[in-house]
Amino acid sequence: MSRAATSSSTSSGLGRALVAVYGVFALAATARSLVQLLTKADEAPLAYALSAVAALVYVAATLGLAEVGPDPRRLAWAAVVFELVGVLTVGTLTVLDPELFPDATVWSAYGAGYGWLPLVLPFAGIAWLWHTRARD
């Protein structure tokens, strides 16, 4: 009799605090994005579109890690990997060419405006998903 590999919960223990941090970012990014799109969408379309994408990624990561939905682990993995690629790409682009985005996004300069948390979070998310992965 071989036992099926089971993963441990991503929303338990330390994961609960991680979900809370992601939740704050999801709330903040969504609200900020809505304000930008509703009040001044034409000022910096690229930056604001990017803000909206970042908001969606944080919402997806929060839901995935909180184990909401049919396949939360897959959702969480997709979100945190996208988040890592996003913050590294946007961070590098904005450092090389600060004029690229007229208005700051959460990922500008690797999230320096948010205490570097946007850079730290995806690593924490990936580490946590790896830590709670299915093991025999």
Binding site: R16, A17, L18, A20, V35
Partner: protein
């Protein structure tokens, strides 16, 4: 938003976060004292919204700034209840630490709202 209330709220939120940190270190689960502390912060936030709504006529805020400002304050109103709901569903250090994050975020939100108000 003028007067000592916003600053008092920031200090109270940071103090709340500090108290939660002690709870996390000692591995104590949240109790009624902590809930009462959060309730005081919650009431203060509500008073702040009312004060801001009364004073906003005299402030020189543009449309987007106004939306941002009240957005922050409304977020400040829902943050702690959401934090408690998420935290109290489990008894663990990590779950208690959720309240620490909520307290820090609460302080940050009031600081941001103040910055928008004074801009």
């Amino acid at each position: 938003m003028d007067g000592p209330l916003p600053l008092a709220l920031v200090v109270a939120s940071l103090l709340f976060a500090a108290v939660v940190l002690v709870y996390v270190v000692l591995d104590r689960t949240p109790d009624w004292g902590l809930l009462g502390f959060a309730a005081v912060i919650e009431v203060a936030t509500l008073v702040l919204i009312v004060v801001a709504a009364v004073q906003v006529g005299g402030a020189d805020l543009s449309g987007p700034a106004l939306v941002t400002f009240f957005g922050y304050l409304v977020a400040g109103l829902v943050l702690l209840p959401m934090g408690f709901a998420w935290s109290l569903a489990e008894r663990s250090r990590g779950a208690t630490a959720v309240l620490l994050i909520a307290g820090l975020a609460q302080a940050f939100i009031v600081v941001r709202a103040l910055a928008v108000w004074r801009s």
